[in-house]
Symmetry: C2
Subunit: 440 residues, 2 copies
């Protein structure tokens, strides 16, 4: 007899019925005439009780090791003593995959015991991912990403998948990875920036891309990785970077509403945080004003027109208190702090039509209106001492008609950190890559 296969969170709807569940054996308590198992699947955890009279099941469960994978059939019951209030009276148990009893890291931490060191957890990432909080990270990610995509698709953005293998190491000062490409060299793209702009020159008007970006920076901070996911959007026929910010803040509010609708309770339970859907428009403060506010708070930071991580935290605290908002756009960065392709302000050519977005003290976005006028772009590239030959393929995009445009790049790993209150980006990526880490 094939019983109905259900997820563990559906047991409560099948009381008094025969059901079949599958999952990992998480805890095991063996008494003389009765065995208690805790079984975990993607939806939750449930207690299974196996009594001695169920001979085969009783015998099978004797050979079970922690984290083995099993299929269990039995009667769904309410049981006040059981964790969660339900249990299954097991009638048969099939071992689908027997775990080595020597688990390298625990899935369930015992009592007040501190969590295993991160670098060891990352060595055994697939076991680490079994923890409720780590699985929830990626359930939330899935909804967040789909939220952004729904916003873009509903608003007629076209999706692109731009090449990650590129001919020249060019765009920015940070280091790029070199690839052996048949008889020559290629490089890994640090961002889809140039190709989003190519789509604008191609008349696509609005595009988005989700894909990996690669940075060969020897950074060892809690916010950096050598490979991570980027969300990118670019739009045509804008009047200034303010049109870009207006689009971005709507996309963020839409995506976070989707997350709140789907996982508000679970995020509160597991991470102790409430999902706040930000009000639109977001607060916007120019870089100049930001520095003045920080000076007023007695904080001295980077003077080259950029702001330090400490300044990012402080200005966010200020905005939170003053405007009750978790987000703030810092606008109009000086040209020294921005790449050659950012458009400059018509009235004040020392500043760019650019912005960063900070969320609760962390930079999650960089954006700008781009310079689409060929001659101006070449002049700005020369002023920045760019090697024109290396970027000629890019400059060519602007020779045969290109709409005015701008866009933003966003880091979903950092978004997830801020959303869930994670203190390290390594916990916000499926598999982390750093200078010293290429496995698993």
């Amino acid at each position: 007899m094939k019983m109905e296969k259900i997820h563990i969170n559906q047991v409560k709807d099948h009381i008094g019925k025969q059901v079949t569940i599958t999952g990992f054996a998480q805890v095991f308590r063996d008494q003389k005439n009765i065995k208690f198992l805790l079984i975990r699947d993607i939806s939750g955890v449930i207690q299974v009780v196996i009594t001695k009279d169920k001979e085969d099941a009783f015998k099978n469960s004797a050979g079970l090791s922690l984290e083995s994978v099993v299929e269990i059939a039995g009667l769904a019951k309410e049981e006040k003593q059981a964790p969660g209030g339900f249990e299954i009276a097991g009638e048969s148990i099939t071992i689908l995959s027997l775990s080595n009893p020597e688990l390298p890291i625990p899935v369930v931490e015992k009592g007040q015991q501190e969590e295993t060191d991160q670098s060891i957890r990352l060595d055994w990432r697939w076991i680490d991912l079994r923890k409720e909080k780590n699985t929830l990270v990626f359930k939330v990610w899935t909804v967040m990403e789909q939220g952004f995509r729904e916003y873009w698709v509903n608003n007629n953005y076209i999706e692109i998948h731009s090449p990650k293998l590129i001919a020249t190491a060019s765009e920015s000062g940070s280091e790029v990875f070199e690839v052996k490409y048949f008889e020559r060299k290629a490089y890994l793209a640090q961002s889809p920036q140039f190709y989003k702009q190519m789509a604008m020159a191609g008349g696509f008007e609005k595009v988005f891309e989700v894909g990996p970006v690669f940075r060969a920076e020897p950074s060892f901070t809690s916010r950096h990785a050598t490979e991570f996911t980027g969300y990118d959007a670019e739009i045509s026929y804008i009047e200034s970077h303010h049109d870009v910010m207006a689009e971005e803040e709507k996309a963020i509010a839409y995506a976070l509403q989707k997350v709140k609708d789907a996982y508000d309770e679970e995020i509160l339970k597991v991470f102790g945080r409430e999902v706040v859907v930000p009000a639109v428009p977001f607060p916007k403060i120019s870089m100049k004003e930001t520095k003045e506010i920080l000076a007023g708070m007695g904080i001295k930071g980077d003077k080259d027109g950029d702001i330090s991580p400490e300044e990012e935290r402080k200005i966010c605290e200020y905005v939170k208190e003053k405007h009750g908002h978790e987000f703030v756009f810092i606008t109009e960065y000086p040209i020294s702090a921005r790449p050659f392709y950012h458009m400059r302000d018509e009235k004040n050519p020392k500043i760019t039509k650019s912005f960063d977005l900070l969320w609760n003290g962390l930079e999650v976005t960089t954006g700008a209106q781009r310079e689409h006028r060929y001659d101006v772009l070449v002049a700005q590239a020369k002023e920045k001492k760019m090697d024109i030959e290396h970027i000629q393929f890019y400059l060519d995009f602007f020779k045969y008609g290109c709409p005015p445009h701008g866009g933003y790049g966003m880091g979903p790993n950092r978004m997830i950190m801020q959303l869930l209150g994670l203190d390290n980006v390594r916990d916000a990526m499926f598999v982390y890559r750093g200078v010293n880490r290429l496995t698993p």
Copy 2:
């Protein structure tokens, strides 16, 4: 006065009103007292008429070159003589970006003139993309991809972004790209296969991934590229590869329905093809039976258990005629034709629980149930002469409990080829990458 900014396909809803449009100047006809422009945006093309009495507009349009980008304000009108039946009586024209008058390739082919050679078109891809048919490719792609994702998300798949930088060149016989990774070597992932399986060992149950895959094969065919997009899905607790096929065919039917709903008419108009939403379940034929059918048709092909491109076409013609279906799963490939990690049939250990999916003569998918039992997997790897040390990180995924699972990898570039009847994959990717092509 700021007039309402609209898209060209909305002009028909604004007859008698002042409107503003933006776009590329596609055709230009200059008469003594009147100028005719065709302006193209992402939604369509419209005629703009500028008469001499609109002095500024008349003067501005005199300096216009083909493919320049303009903003035009004027009166929306019905006009039987105009292409499409509508036009704008232009009152002002602002040149947003002036094109170099020497266009390297035409956007609109003249009359019966053959299209520019593909390699030249690819050199100027951003101009090539302005053609209606090329823009439509990516509009369709956007809806198709969102369709697949909706299917997956609605069915509780978790999204992963697995690393493209990996430590060992391992999985298959085809060549991998080598990356200089600080003081050591890394490689670019040929598929997310191992990491999808890691997610299964992590208890994720169902996952999907959309991302780039890299193949260092020196292939110059119309179906190959060195970098392309992969759609991947993997599911746990299956009984066989038939559960995987059942999931895949539902996802395909769902996505193609979305494409049909959104672009049926346009695809018919531009590509002369009807979008056929395939009936579920798809026809399934074992490799053995496939060979018998082909032999009955007098076709001799590869004998090593795989089928040649010609055989793929012929068996699809057979299925189309016999079952009226554009898709067919070829199942149960012999172990010689499949990688070590495909599970073998319990009753006939010479064949694998695997499949390919063909669509109108082209392979678009490979899938299988995977071997999740550590000891069996190691034995199969040894039999295939794999270097165990190089894949130990992968084998470890199966040591600490792993549900039975399987999945598929799909090529959206090839899906788009078959959907729109393109004869070359290079036209089905935003920017093509091949042995001799790394730009733009």
